[in-house]
């Protein structure tokens, strides 16, 4: 029995650990993050430009990274904001301050999602086993984000930077499926057994 009367421990659906697969493709569960679903009319977003340090200026399907945070715009009025776990409360307060007086909805979804990083030369081939979208640099350049399907699971796909690194965000109960699906798709690229 771990602490029972102290503060409850945190039990991640995909515990962060060493990558499950390495070169040329790595698939690794990401650790805990602070996440918010921000809903804000696009006209308001144009007026404020940012909230709590999260850029709101990107176009639909963009992902803007700054420091340890990602602002992924999934629709005209919808953002998935991801930041360091320990800053969760501070971030939500800062966002609320910056948007004070406007119509918006900020909902904590830190525990709703799990994230898996897929990286390496064959990352796209692995993802395209279940994602129908074009992930070519021209179609899904660095700084892109979208909600889509991976096999039978809904995911949010984020490409934060220039490298072949993709974040796959899904609801926690789909995490085992999504992780298993990616591992299965990556088998042909993994260390040959």
């Amino acid at each position: 029995m771990r602490e029972t009367l102290g503060v409850a421990w945190r039990d991640l659906v995909l515990p962060a650990k060493v990558p499950d697969l390495e070169v040329p493709t790595s698939i690794a569960a990401m650790g805990a993050c602070a996440r918010f679903s921000l809903r804000l009319p696009s006209a308001q977003a144009r007026a404020v430009d940012q909230a709590g340090g999260f850029a709101l200026s990107g176009g639909v399907n963009s992902a803007i990274t700054s420091g340890g945070s990602i602002s992924a715009r999934l629709g005209p009025d919808e953002w998935l904001l991801i930041g360091p776990e320990e800053q969760g409360d501070a971030l939500s307060q800062a966002i609320e301050v910056d948007l004070d007086g406007r119509f918006f909805s900020l909902v904590d979804v830190s525990h709703r999602n799990a994230a898996i990083a897929v990286a390496g030369r064959e990352a796209r081939a692995v993802l395209n086993a279940g994602i129908a979208l074009d992930l070519d640099d021209a179609a899904f350049p660095p700084g892109s984000a979208t909600r889509t399907l991976l096999g039978k699971a809904e995911i949010v796909l984020i490409r934060p930077g220039a490298e072949c690194v993709y974040w796959v965000e899904c609801w926690r109960s789909f995490a085992a499926y999504v992780h298993g699906f990616l591992m299965e798709a990556a088998r042909e690229f993994g260390p040959h057994r």
Binding site: R2, L12, R39, N128
Partner: protein, 1006 residues
């Protein structure tokens, strides 16, 4: 050059594209067959002199290898690549020869050479087209029991595998600017032209090697190079370009809307062992901006008596076996043709040192130049001849030919001894994918074939697929197609020498000197359909080509009539005296060639078949030995049996614990939606039947939701957290559709409302603590909240902390007891659950599952949407009329509730049932009638929706929807049981704690 090797008597000593440094061995019907890497099973069999490879579908006639490609109708083998890796109906022409393959012929007993079912061949005059339909009509019951099983045993192809398939299959989505299907001359030229644009090009070809007809073209030069050298250069150029993806062994089998092409790539059947992690096949789904169809053409046989003997094959296929595989299909070969293309095959055979005779159905005047050239090579050419038949049994021994004049008078017969025959009855462009793209093929008289008409999607055809058989023209057409597809200008011409021979005169059914109605001149080899069967079908009134197809089965089965469709069309056209375009063509449906189920299934098997959703508390329940049940994609703990307990005992114990002390239940799967915004209360007012404006923050209310039709759609407890924030709960199964329903209204009907919806189903885990001792259990764990009855009454919500982490604590009671639903963020659920469980030990806290939850709620008469409702139940029917806020101007479904039918007195209404025998638990779904002695069909009044044994009541309980049920209270009705009827009394649908006093739990005793 003569065949020399002893092991492979029909293999030439040199030449061909096989790799003689890599010998392979496989089994065919137990015999070891030697071949080389690069061989197909068919070419290796022929190299060993094996022609007899199967028995035909209906008449069990001996059959050999007819073609060299995907159109093969005869040589269908059962192929095993090891345990679990066996499947039937593989075309020997498409299976690459690899070490260790075990191949077998099909459709015979006891053996290929001695097949007792060959008796069918003698019965052929009786079992004509439509035989089954005419004969096996009476008695009716015999069809399933006798006729069909017997027919299936006698006719039918291979045996389906029974073992699990150990191979892996994967899917891949891809996008490109230009997809080129087919890598023959036209396809390669298209790829070369398109690749210059720098755009993304994918080239797919079904063969193991790219190159199409160039792989066996030993005579042409292109721009001064041999075809072989030109091909090597073209492929090197394409391989060097990063924007080009070359996919050999990849069959494009389906062309769907929006240039969505499905292709299957074979990865490990071929002889490069590589990694065991490689999937066997990959299903590609390509979205292409432009498509070039360079799919080539299939050669057609000629129709004459006994044209199906082993050793009789396609003329071009003989050329392929000679040049590509260095195999002589025979040493004395007769070619019979109605067109010029076979002349090249004959010339190649002669050049290989074989004895060659050419029989042309066209008069000398129609083929003079070509025949003169062949004669110059020393080949006997018989023009103006017909073929009357063949001799031989297990293998052709001779071809019977005779001269014919312009009026089809037949001269004297002559039998030409031979051990192989090459037929050429013209070519049929492979317009399958074009047709699947919804394009309509148009008929071209000069080549007696359908070619692609106007494009419907962004595609274009080139080369033989478009009826362009001349090599130089096909290359130029391919180049132009590729350039246009890539958005480039420019044409290019290719210097080809010698010019391609392309003359042709259609010959539907060769004239004969015997009674034509007795001659079996096969047109569909796979289904044993002869020309006379088609003619019989037309005589019997089947005029539509679709009907002829179904009546005779021509064009069906695994080859889908690739070699036979045009012949059948021509015969129907002749028999009806209508031109071919008026007869039309049958529809080409995907797949172009058979696709394995594995490729279609892909990764979706075993653990990846469907996402199995589990809660953060799942592992705890597993450790406790819980039995689970599926609820949609979720797995929920149904009950927690202790050693020796069955479900009944476990559920009774769990229910007792909740009623007498305290139980703990994982309600995390409940749908949860956070409704936020200044208009949140107005939105709730419109979407639910009841009123929300007056609900104070910190309070909960049961909400009922209808669809526009006025029927119950979903329900759940809603907490108002702040003036502008509601925490909505939905049923487990309804979570996704409720959110979609709300979004639909918000976005389309009420876009002026300032409200946003966010799913938080998985953000919050829900630990239900229910029972008189619930408060005592959680009290030591919470902080920042006053749990007293006054401060925190039933149907209230408080935000505070439990075990040091934030909670939204609901005081609600689906069990009817004092209860809390502890919402905690999901990663904390396990720790909080264990803390609650530990704290509850002194009170005998008992984990309970969904089954006990159902019993507890039914005792209190709480409905479950989807169990006690079925999409036709109104609030009034369910006894929830009080949930309708009559004063609200509108809510979804309000108008529908005013329809006369929705308030009729005889509607099915929710009632309780008390069985006359208290121990009897009715079946859910049991029908209810007023008088079991009424004549059948008797009127059914309704049915049981929920039925359980109630430990608290000491008798069974049931809820039911009964016509006019509210007016029947006290009546005795009858419910069906497996053995008859059981008497039941209609009661109020509440069985326990009628006044709902127990929700105060230990407060009541305090």
């Amino acid at each position: 050059m003569a065949p020399t090797t002893v092991a492979q008597p029909y293999r030439f000593a040199k030449g061909g594209r096989i790799d003689r440094t890599r010998p392979v061995h496989f089994l065919f019907n137990g015999r070891t067959i030697a071949g080389f890497a690069g061989d197909s099973v068919a070419s290796a069999l022929l190299a060993n002199g094996v022609h007899l490879v199967g028995r035909s579908f209906k008449y069990h006639r001996p059959r050999g290898i007819l073609s060299h490609g995907v159109d093969e109708p005869n040589a269908l083998l059962d192929v095993s690549r090891g345990p679990g890796r066996r499947d039937p109906n593989n075309r020997a022409t498409m299976v690459e020869a690899t070490d260790g393959l075990v191949t077998r012929s099909q459709n015979h007993w006891p053996s290929l050479k001695r097949d007792i079912w060959a008796v069918n061949d003698l019965l052929a005059p009786i079992i004509v087209a439509g035989f089954y339909y005419k004969t096996f009509k009476w008695p009716r019951t015999f069809w399933h029991r006798l006729y069909e099983p017997a027919i299936r045993a006698a006719a039918g192809l291979g045996l389906a595998p029974t073992e699990d398939d150990p191979d892996r299959y994967v899917h891949r989505h891809a996008h490109c600017d230009v997809l080129v299907i087919g890598s023959g001359p036209a396809g390669l030229a298209a790829a070369l032209a398109a690749s210059g644009s720098g755009k993304r090009v994918i080239v797919a070809d079904e063969q193991a090697e790219l190159g199409g007809t160039l792989l066996h073209d030993a005579s042409s030069t292109i721009d001064g190079e041999s075809a072989e050298a030109w091909l090597a250069g073209a492929l090197a150029m394409l391989r060097a370009q990063r924007n080009v993806t070359l996919l050999p062994r990849t069959t494009a089998f389906g062309y769907y809307n929006h240039n969505h092409i499905a292709m299957v790539e074979r990865l490990v059947d071929h002889p490069a062992p590589g990694s065991t992690a490689l999937p066997r096949e990959r299903l590609w789904q390509v979205r292409a901006k432009q498509v070039v169809l360079a799919t080539g053409a299939h050669e057609r046989p000629l129709a004459f008596a006994d044209n199906d003997r082993p050793g009789i094959m396609m003329a071009e296929s003989i050329r392929v076996f000679l040049n590509r595989y260095a195999v002589a299909p025979g040493r004395r070969i007769v070619f019979a043709t109605s067109g010029a293309s076979a002349y090249q095959a004959a010339a190649d055979a002669k050049a290989a040192g074989l004895d060659v005779t050419m029989v042309d159905t066209r008069p000398e005047a129609g083929c003079g130049v070509q025949s003169a050239r062949l004669r110059a090579l020393g080949i006997e050419v018989l023009t103006g001849h017909t073929v009357l038949g063949s001799v031989g049994r297990m293998k052709v021994r001779g071809l019977i030919v005779a001269p014919r004049d312009a009026t089809d008078r037949i001269g004297s017969r002559r039998t030409i001894a031979c051990d192989a025959v090459g037929l050429s009855g013209g070519w049929t462009p492979a317009v399958h994918l074009f047709s699947q793209s919804r394009g309509k093929p148009v008929y071209r008289d000069d080549i007696d074939a359908f070619v692609p008409g106007t494009s419907v999607q962004a595609e274009r055809s080139a080369g033989a697929a478009k009826g362009t058989y001349d090599l130089a023209a096909a290359l130029a057409e391919g180049w132009r197609a590729g350039a246009e597809a890539a958005g480039l200008d420019g044409t290019r011409s290719f210097a080809v020498s010698p010019p391609t021979r392309t003359g042709f005169t259609p010959a539907r059914k060769l004239p004969t000197d015997v009674d034509a109605s007795r001659v079996r001149a096969f047109i569909d080899f796979q289904n044993d359909v002869a020309a006379k069967d088609v003619e019989l079908a037309v005589r019997e009134g089947f005029e539509s080509v679709e009907h002829v197809k179904r009546y005779t089965t021509t064009g069906m089965a695994t080859d889908q009539g690739k070699t036979s469709n045009m012949a059948a069309l021509g015969l129907v056209s002749d028999a009806l005296g209508r031109p071919v375009p008026q007869v039309g063509t049958t529809t080409f449906r995907p797949p172009y060639t058979p696709v394995s189920f594995g490729a279609i299934v892909g990764q979706a098997r075993d653990a990846l078949f469907d996402p199995i959703r589990t809660t953060p508390l799942h592992d705890w329940a597993v450790a406790q030995g819980a039995v689970f049940e599926p609820v949609g994609l979720w797995r929920r703990a149904r009950f927690f049996p202790k050693r020796g307990e069955d479900m009944h005992a476990a559920v009774a114990r769990e229910c007792r614990a909740v009623r007498s002390a305290v139980g703990i239940f994982d309600a995390s799967t409940l749908g949860k939606i956070e409704v936020v915004g200044p208009d949140a209360a107005e939105f709730m007012n419109r979407i639910y039947t009841n009123a929300w404006a007056k609900l104070e923050p910190g309070r909960c209310r049961y909400g009922l939701m209808l669809k526009e039709d006025g029927f119950i759609f979903d329900d759940g407890v809603v907490a108002r957290l702040a003036r502008d924030r509601f925490h909505v709960t939905t049923t487990t199964g309804g979570a996704a559709r409720v959110l979609a329903h709300m979004e639909d209204y918000l976005q389309t009907e009420w876009s002026n409302l300032q409200v946003y919806l966010t799913s938080v189903t998985e953000q919050w885990s829900v630990i239900a603590v229910q029972g008189p001792r619930a408060r005592a259990v959680i009290a030591p764990l919470v902080s920042g909240m006053d749990l007293s009855q006054e401060a925190f009454p039933h149907m209230a919500v408080r935000i505070g902390k439990i075990c040091g982490v934030p909670t939204r604590l609901f005081r609600v009671a689906f069990t009817g007891e004092l209860g809390y639903e502890v919402n905690v963020s999901a990663d904390h659920a396990r720790a909080v659950w264990e803390a609650v469980y530990e704290s509850g030990r002194t009170f005998g806290i008992t984990p309970y599952g969904t089954e006990a939850m159902h019993v507890l709620r039914a005792e209190r008469g709480f409905i479950v949407v989807g169990q006690d409702t079925d999409g036709t139940v109104t609030p009034e029917d369910a006894g929830l009329a009080a949930m309708i806020a009559k004063t609200k101007p509108d809510f979804v479904g309000k108008r529908s509730l005013m329809r006369p039918d929705m308030v009729a007195a005889d509607r099915k209404q929710l009632v309780g049932l008390a069985t006359q025998v208290p121990q009897l638990v009715l079946d859910e779904g049991a029908q209810i009638v007023a008088d079991p002695r009424a004549p059948i069909p008797m009127k059914m009044l309704g049915h049981v929706t929920s039925s359980y044994w109630s430990t608290a009541c000491g008798h069974s309980i049931a809820l039911a929807l009964v016509s006019g049920g509210c007016a029947r209270l006290g009546q005795t009705l009858y419910a069906t049981t497996p053995t008859g009827f059981a008497a039941v009394r209609v009661v109020e649908p509440v069985f326990f704690d009628r006044h709902g006093e127990r929700v105060n739990g230990d407060f009541a005793h305090a």
